[in-house]
Symmetry: C2
Subunit: 605 residues, 2 copies
């Protein structure tokens, strides 16, 4: 894409341009559009400036660019540029050798439209009046800021993005990019994001905005010429924000010891309690670096972002996207909840997109996005994801072995032979993705795994397999009827609570299902039970006892046959194996087989 229409000038950023801004950003640059910017909600901004920072080098093919979209109170300074530079907000992720490796990628991070760190916002001069926009700054949306970013990328000569990456409000921008410019986005990474805020999160934003707008020093937003702005309201808003960024558990751990022994803070806010002193400090610090009008503008931008109230609307919103997706959430995040990420994942899966997901077991809450606790997990995931589907590496190091990895390996051969070439495949309980990786010859048909273990999920993503981090005991509504040619449930049937439901699901989602399971009525188990009166252990080398096996159910072959019959599920093929003898069994399999592989189909009702 050419720079046509964008004849503005590059200039170093001068922090004196912005009122109430924070430290200067010596590595930042600005670009001014000569072309007016019509806004989604009906106003036209002229002379729009965008401030941005870049890291690494754009390669000759211009295909190694990653756009970082920052969150509400973030800015362009995503990482330090050198040892002398001020710390960035994502130093742990971005840099040479990091998950987003600036030796490999060209990273661009612009300050959002409406912010107060250099890109046009309420504290910018409106050329038409010669005064700051202040209270006249219009409503701007995620789409408007994405348009600014698009123009910047055009200016930089970046036609396609290797990835768009965003956390929190940055995730909203990333989703907008992926759906608005599908041809320009290779992959999208969402971290602690949502397709729309929960009403609870919205409620906190409303209270925060009321605290600002009802501060008598707000003056309808026209406070720049007054000696004091709405600093109390802004500090209250920030205090409230900080409560929502931390999980209750993290707050307890941080503030309950010494609850009445707060750190000394010079403040007019209450500091009797430890947590109060912390909030006072955060509030006071924030007003020094952030502008209240920008806070209002950006929180409204976030609140108005809405990909749909219903499953159907969300699916429709995401439909245009063609990129790969990685969706990360944090277990203890109650502001942008794992459930909200699951809703995005569900819509993507149902729309047939290439998607991986992970719910990181972090305690810090929403803040885990920026903390070592979260990054130590999702950093590896991100690294593997960005390596791309080209990274199918047979020799890739697997993660911690899945409980039944060995078993799975051994019956994979039988399963693979049952899968027609070119079939789309869903592997439920995919471990580190080995079976799916072995199916790679059959590409480009869709292959997707579902896995409960985080380490296995990361390993699967690292070998180029799409994998949804999900518990098979939870609903599989994220898959459409007949969405895959083949659904594989290998050595996992016995670990699921509701056997009837999972059999219904695999035959609903797949045209066929291939289900392998140990036969607990195998001759040797019967003999032990009859002779010794001990409950049979799972066949296989796992060493579990009756009181600690992860197996939840203990089916025999005829048990499963009868359950299938009762559910109207047809067993169209069956392979019976004696693993110890390495032979196929044809005679009385319920007695002689150690395991069975069933091919199942459920006729349409």
């Amino acid at each position: 894409m050419s720079k046509s229409g964008h004849t503005g000038a590059d200039a170093p950023f001068d922090s004196s341009d912005t009122a109430r801004s924070a430290a200067p950003l010596p590595h930042a640059r600005t670009f001014t559009f000569s072309e007016p910017l019509p806004l989604e909600h009906g106003y036209v901004l002229n002379d729009v400036v965008v401030l941005y920072e870049t890291y690494g080098k754009l390669n000759d093919r211009r295909d190694n660019a990653i756009l970082i979209c920052h969150a509400l109170s973030g800015d362009s300074h995503v990482a330090r540029h050198d040892a002398a530079d001020a710390p960035g907000w994502w130093d742990l992720v971005i840099g040479p050798g990091n998950a987003i490796d600036t030796d490999r990628f060209f990273v661009v991070c612009p300050n959002v439209l409406g912010g107060c760190r250099g890109t046009t916002g309420p504290n910018s001069i409106n050329a038409a009046t010669g005064a700051r926009y202040a209270g006249d700054f219009p409503i701007v949306t995620i789409a408007d800021t994405v348009e600014v970013q698009r123009r910047l990328l055009d200016h930089l000569g970046i036609e396609t993005l290797c990835a768009v990456v965003g956390g929190s409000m940055g995730g909203a921008q990333a989703m907008d990019w992926a759906t608005r410019y599908p041809d320009r986005v290779g992959s999208t990474v969402l971290i602690a994001s949502a397709a729309r805020l929960s009403s609870q999160a919205l409620a906190f934003d409303v209270v925060a905005r009321n605290a600002i707008t009802r501060d008598p020093c707000f003056h309808g937003g026209d406070y720049y010429e007054h000696p004091h702005g709405p600093t109390v309201g802004l500090a209250l808003a920030r205090m409230l924000g900080h409560i929502t960024y931390l999980s209750r558990e993290a707050m307890t751990a941080k503030f309950d010891p010494g609850r009445l022994a707060p750190r000394k803070v010079v403040t007019d806010f209450e500091s009797r309690f430890s947590v109060g002193a912390y909030l006072a400090y955060q509030g006071e610090k924030f007003v020094e670096r952030f502008d209240a009008n920008s806070y209002l503008t950006l929180s409204m931008m976030l609140d108005l972002f809405d990909l749909g109230a219903s499953t159907e609307e969300l699916e429709r919103s995401l439909r245009p996207a063609t990129c790969r997706w990685l969706v990360v959430s944090f277990a203890s995040d109650w502001l942008f909840t794992p459930q909200q990420s699951r809703e995005i994942v569900q819509a993507l899966v149902r729309e047939g997109k290439s998607v991986s997901s992970c719910e990181v077991p972090a305690n810090a809450g929403h803040d885990a996005f920026l903390l070592e606790e979260g990054i130590s997990v999702y950093g590896d995931l991100l690294r593997g994801f960005l390596a791309g589907p080209e990274a199918v590496r047979q020799g890739a190091e697997p993660g911690r072995p899945h409980a039944t990895a060995t078993d799975r390996r051994l019956d994979q051969d039988a399963i693979l032979r049952l899968i027609p070439d070119g079939s789309s495949i869903l592997d439920l309980g995919c471990g580190d993705g080995e079976l799916l990786a072995r199916c790679s010859a059959a590409r480009p048909a869709r292959r997707l795994g579902v896995e409960l273990d985080v380490t296995s999920t990361i390993a699967a993503v690292a070998r180029g397999v799409d994998v949804i981090h999900h518990n098979l005991n939870h609903s599989l509504e994220l898959f459409r009827d007949r969405q895959f040619d083949v659904v594989v449930l290998s050595q996992a049937l016995q670990c699921v609570d509701d056997t009837a439901r999972i059999l219904d699901d695999v035959t609903r989602i797949g045209r066929r299902a291939i289900v392998s399971f140990p036969n607990f009525a195998h001759r040797r188990l019967r003999e032990i039970f009859a002779r010794e009166g001990r409950l049979p252990k799972t066949p296989g080398p796992f060493g579990y006892d009756w009181f600690n096996t992860p197996n939840r159910r203990f089916p025999s072959i005829i048990d499963v046959q009868e359950l299938c019959a009762a559910r109207g599920i047809e067993i169209v093929d069956a392979i019976y194996i004696d693993r110890e003898q390495s032979v196929r069994i044809t005679e009385d399999p319920n007695l002689n087989a150690t395991e069975a592989v069933f091919v199942l189909e459920k006729p349409f009702a």
Copy 2:
């Protein structure tokens, strides 16, 4: 107790006494103490007035009084007095025939100290100055308000309370009563309470107070003579409160449909979003009926309430109490969490108190305390609890039958014979409390049940049994080592995930444990398995199949014997039964018994 020292006068309440108060309370009365009130934090209040309402009649024995302690923004008007009266805040619970039956009980509900509805508070006239206390009103604590209540009860001639009942902040008062005046309290009911606020809840209160105190119209609390008080700050505080009273799920259900179609509200607050209009309405309405100084006073009263940071401190705080306890929480309450109620229950149990508990599966959040959703469950519990331990009714209607009720009944005889007279008993998985009720001859030794099912819990409480609503798969740290003579685990061993842990626990908590379980290696099951190759079903008439049984483990007798040996647990006695033949088995029980009853002991290490 005489009225000595309290020669103040009763007088009808005149609402004009209080600035910024709400509707008059025609049934309320006031009482003025002539004796000064020294406060916990070191100030003396004179001429303290307490406003209160009563319902029902004090009986001749003066032993049917129930004290209701209200929450932060509540008042004395707990229920309507007649059809013409304004609704009370707990009409669903208090009244003729209700859970707190005013045909039976004499209900007293005073307005708290520091409030704004008639009891002395910041908007009261300080006789020493002739002006309102305003910003000079001192810090008052839960203990101070309990002292006011005590004086009122003395005045009313009530020596002992049948019960003290409080929800939220009311629960703090109830706990103070129970521990400060153990001789005067027969039972204590806590609903959605905590021994201290979480740091998260504290943080919300801090922000709310900052919103009030930093409102320029606050004037250090001396705003009564100004045309405007800190109404914006108070409204913000109330908005914030309302967010915390609702669960996220309830907010979603209430405000997500029509998120951008708010109800029309006349307000200067933001009302663009449905949830915002609701908060604006709640905020505006609140400032009409509540005084900002009272809000500050009472939220600080709540924040300072603290029965201890550690388990040990909490146990020490609750140690003086001698009453019966009922502790109710709501699953979706994130302000006063079920975990916080569990901590109270744990301390009470470990201190050997008589306590029942229930985590009500309500979705509404903290608000469930006041809503039909919560009351429909805890109302029955409260009714049964207030009927008292005298209500051991063999013929009492049991609740929904527990899954293994029949089984339990049948092996109860064997178990009962193994329990020495006068033993203290803990029954894990007690169902509707039948076994414990059958042990009633052995009173007054301690008897306590643990049950997962809510309906069974309510039924057990109704028959006079103490029961903790708890999942046996969760930690049993709430019990001390050797806390009971006998721990019973009847037909529940096979339903617990971690068999080794539960065996360790029962032999840690009890001097002896009596554990009954089905023998899955019984002859008939072996025969079926050997012959038919079907997994054995549980013996008994439950009709579960292999794929839906609630049983988690399938032990044989020798399996359990071996596991006990491996854990250093001694089987000091064993009874083997063939249920179908109704005979005791002595020969090869692992083959011939359908179930076993083990008496277990673990020698001290």
